[in-house]
Every structure is written in C-alpha cells, then in structure tokens.
Subunit: 94 residues, 2 copies
C-alpha cells in the first residue's frame, strides 16, 4: 500500500485517476489532457499500474487504461482506521 500512497502524492496522477473514473482511456487520450510529454504521462501511468490503481489492456494499437478500485478501497480502509478508535488490528507496512 506504500506504493499507492506514493502514487497518490502527485497531482497529475490524481487527475489521471479522476479522468479514468468516468471512462477508460488510451494512453494517448490521457496524455492529450495535460501539457506534459507523452513519455512523462506513460511514466505516471506505469507508477499507477505498479501501485495497483489502474489496469492496462492492449486493444490493437492502443493501450487502454482503466481504474482499478481494489487498492483505492484499501487506502480508504487505512484512512478510516486512522479516524476510528476501534479496530487496532489494522495491517500496514511500516
């Protein structure tokens, strides 16, 4: 989950997640939304993928990226754990 928190620390990556929330997009479509080079966006997408926050699937020439919500739910669980007094047995990497 450390990778997820690190991935979420960058505003560009959070914006990518917001875009993918509405619909899946190809890497190029994502890149078109930013004033950042395609290789940089590709790097951000890879970080999100490593963190388990997005899935990628090749469709012909394009690679489609979509939101993967499982880890998002894990992060929410961690945040709720911080809020509540109960449930001290929450797992976390150091």
């Amino acid at each position: 989950m450390n990778d997820a928190f690190k991935a979420l620390a960058d505003p560009t990556r959070r914006q990518i997640l917001r875009l993918l929330r509405d619909r899946s997009m190809s890497a190029g479509e994502v890149a078109d939304q930013f004033n950042i080079s395609k290789p940089s966006i590709s790097h951000h997408l890879n970080i999100l993928k490593q963190a388990g926050l997005v899935l990628d699937e090749r469709q012909g020439q394009s690679i489609m990226y979509s939101l993967h919500t499982t880890v998002v739910e894990d992060v929410i669980g961690w945040m709720f754990h911080i809020l509540g007094k109960e449930g001290k047995e929450h797992d976390d990497e150091q």
Copy 2:
C-alpha cells in the same frame, strides 16, 4: 489537500498518525518510537502540521501533538469520489 497527500506518502509519517490515533504524544515520545533522529521527526511532525493532519500545543517544556481529523475526512471524500460514478462536482486542486 495536495499537502495532505504528500504528507501521507511517507511511511514514517503514516506511522506517526497511527500512534497519535490512540493518544496525543509529545514530540519526544513520538521520536522514541523510531530509529530516526529527533530533528528528523520534528521535520515530519511539521509536515503533518502544515498538511493539517495534526495539531500541536505547548504544555510546559513539551509540545503535545494530536491527530486532527478534518483533513483526513477530506482525503476520504476524495477517495470515495474516485470510487463512485456520481458526484462529478468534487473539488480538487490541479
């Protein structure tokens, strides 16, 4: 909220929040939980404070740190927004 996400990206700072979840602690008490120098912990506490995730209050010689949950709730709100399809009008920097 960008500051909060950045603050949460560091595992030491997340562990500090977990410690403060159970009870408020002085800076020294927090530092005693880690193999990290006191100035470094002080730096982490300051980042958490700037992000609005903790509050500090001097009590005599000590400075007590406590969890401040408002921004945690904001982050949870952002995360839920990513999960759900509805509520596209969520505020976010960037």
